[in-house]
Amino acid sequence: MKKEQIFVNIEECISLIKRNALSYSDKNLFDIEFRRLADSIDHDRELFEFFFINYHTALQECRKNNVINAENILLRINKIVPIDLLDGNEKKLFLLVSHPINAYIQYKLENFRASEELTISTMILDQYFEALNPAIFFHKIQQLQNISRIKIRCNEYIMSAKIINILFSVLIFNYQQSYQGLSFGCTTSINEFSELKKLMVTQIFNEWIKTLDNIDNEKERNQYFSLSVVDLPLENMDVDNDYSYILLSIGIIKNIIIENDIHDENVILSINNLLGYSKDYYNSTHLQFIQKLLN
């Protein structure tokens, strides 16, 4: 099969993805589970509602780069809701709302150490609350991904790649991993949230590939990619069909980058096989990345 055919197959894949693309919003899924968690804890509901609504308004302002507006909202909330006077699970619940948003604000202000500390504090709370609602595990996963983003902003790409490796191995292969004393592993109850899991894997993959694509130094890029998949048994395709696509894609990239093999029939066949697997939530970033590598 000629190289042209490879590109034809890639283009076909890209078209399929665009036609079938499921856009996702993780907001609603998390909100539902967060509400369930909140309902299981004894707390001042009206006060919490006020706190929750306004913290999320601050988050929206921050996402629009209106950091001063976000800070103003938080100044107000913190005056009206005296968190320090709360205790026990109620206080933890409020902090579970405030810590990640404060972490994001610090991230926007480029105070990366403060952002990292707040994110780790969030994960500690997530770990605590997983016992009450297993879905909170995904919030912890999201925080770990945030740490990888912080590491990139601090030019600590190797650490970021290692975190991506943790995320992939935990989510796709149900490995038990740990980070900073916090444990990550998918229990049976967590695996029941298959859609949420699929969403997270896809989102992490899409973003990581985009990050790699922006690295000019090929040697460094290849090193980071290798580290990010070092624990993944890519030849083991005995996984849910949901993850076959990503493993195949990673395998193709690995063959090109590490094996430097773009003519092997297996690679060509693999690209052809991509067409047959579930591609929900993926965008075409990785395919365009593969095209670039082949060029």
């Binding site: 006060l47 509602e49 006020f50 306004n54 308004t57 001063i68 507006n69 800070e71 009206i80």
Partner: protein
């Protein structure tokens, strides 16, 4: 938690049984049907549907019962003023101006900012950039007429750009100019070499009105020169790619208000609606003189402003209608913001330099005399927000519901006994209704 209805709201019935509730604290508006509206205004908050309730809370229409709203507003303003990421510096390279506008309070001279002051100014800016974690250096070229000392502008601009590179901050520049000297080659030089991306030019109505008051000191007319300069600039083949904002301001009083609509029409005939970033009308105010005595009554101005906004839509312009939240009323409340005029005098207000009636009243110092690292204490009006909170501002701002979207407008004006309320105070309801009509029915409906 118990809630109360915010005092900082404006409500308009835009259609039968349909209401807009606008929060000046957030500049957000909510559309309510009568049922929800009645519950809101009858205090039956808990009966409001949850999703609507949450929006009312997040938009600050419903606020905690025990919240001191004005204190919150002032705290937000102070936080924004003291944590600004932009170091703002106004520079007046020239004390001169070709025009002899009747309402101008400045006394013009041929002075230009002396070259011997440059290094001290740069040193001062460097020092300020070192003291806080600024993201940008924002320069405003003002006057007099800044283009009357183009050499000063050019030389200082290069030094300032160099400072921004050394300090790793973004460089942003704008200019307020009468437009007489804004030939297209000058414009291109300012944009390409001096990073000026925002221009404000004044036209006080069409020619017959503008030339009655904005004439050269030699007696010659200025309108056509300025208008032709703008036309030439807009016709530059790469104008759109330059990504420059040019806004046109029209100063209005009782003698020229009838020239506004014809000006809008004229600009439209020359395609300005596709080129300018905005057109706005400003009432003439006191500039240390009695110019304000010729102004329209505020209520009349505000009524006419609605007509002018509709005219703008009719002629293809797209003006913004609703005010945004104002955290910084002007440069006076930001401790780091300063103005240096062509004499080297330093102020924290753009309205006082070269104005004889103010004497030394507002002068902070002169660049040649001060240590560049000095911090001026007792800057006029720096505590404006606190004065409003304490009801010591000589203004009605303490209880005014428009305070969050106005900030008090002009502290100096209040001190001088002049009412500084902007038009929104008088026509916000009409603006809300107009905005609703445009959203719901389209622009054609009001055209």
């Amino acid at each position: 938690m118990n809630y109360k209805l915010s005092q900082y709201i404006v409500t308009v019935e835009v259609k039968e049984n349909i209401f807009i509730v606008f929060s000046t604290r957030t500049s957000k508006q909510v559309l309510l049907y009568k049922e929800s509206y009645d519950k809101l205004f009858n205090g039956k908050f808990k009966e409001i549907e949850k999703d609507i309730f949450n929006i009312l809370v997040s938009d600050y229409i419903l606020v905690p019962e025990n919240e001191d709203e004005l204190a919150s507003i002032v705290e937000e303003n102070n936080h924004s003023n003291h944590n600004s990421k932009a170091l703002y510096q106004v520079i007046m390279p020239s004390a001169n101006c070709q025009l002899g506008c009747g309402y101008c309070g400045q006394k013009h001279t041929k002075n230009q900012l002396d070259t011997s002051y440059y290094s001290k100014l740069i040193e001062r800016i460097n020092h300020k950039l070192d003291t806080e974690n600024y993201e940008s250096l924002s320069i405003a070229w003002f006057g007099g007429e800044p283009l009357m000392s183009l050499s000063t502008l050019r030389e200082l601009s290069k030094k300032l750009q160099q400072v921004s590179v050394e300090k790793n901050v973004k460089y942003v520049a704008k200019i307020v100019t009468n437009g007489l000297g804004l030939k297209k080659n000058i414009f291109l030089d300012l944009v390409n070499n001096h990073k000026i991306k925002s221009f404000e030019v004044t036209l006080d109505g069409i020619k017959s009105f503008h030339d009655e008051r904005r004439f050269l000191k030699s007696g010659e007319k200025s309108f056509q020169i300025i208008f032709d300069n703008l036309k030439d600039i807009f016709m530059l083949p790469n104008f759109d790619e330059l990504n420059v904002n040019i806004s046109i301001r029209c100063n209005v009083d009782s003698s020229n208000y009838e020239g506004v609509t014809p000006l809008i029409k004229l600009m439209s005939e020359h395609g300005f609606q596709d080129k300018i970033s905005g057109f706005y009308v400003a009432p003439i105010h006191s500039w240390g003189n009695e110019a304000h005595l010729q102004s329209l009554e505020k209520e009349i101005f505000s009524e006419k402003e609605i007509d002018w906004l509709i005219d703008q839509y009719k002629y293809g312009f797209r003006p913004g209608l609703l005010p945004g939240r104002v955290y910084q009323v002007c440069m006076v409340t930001t401790p780091s913001s300063e103005l240096i005029d062509a004499n080297g005098d330093i102020y924290n207000c753009t309205e006082v330099s070269y104005v004889p009636s103010y004497g030394e009243q507002y002068r902070l110092g002169n660049i040649k005399d001060i240590n560049p690292t000095v911090t001026f204490n007792d800057r006029p009006f720096e505590n404006w927000n606190d004065l409003v909170l304490e009801n010591k501002s000589s203004s009605p701002c303490h209880t005014c519901i428009m305070m969050p979207v106005c900030g008090g407008a002009c502290p100096k004006s209040w001190k001088e006994g002049n009412i500084a309320c902007p038009s929104n105070k008088f026509n916000i309801s009409e603006k809300l209704a107009l905005n609703y009509l445009i959203q719901e029915q389209g622009i054609e409906y009001i055209s």
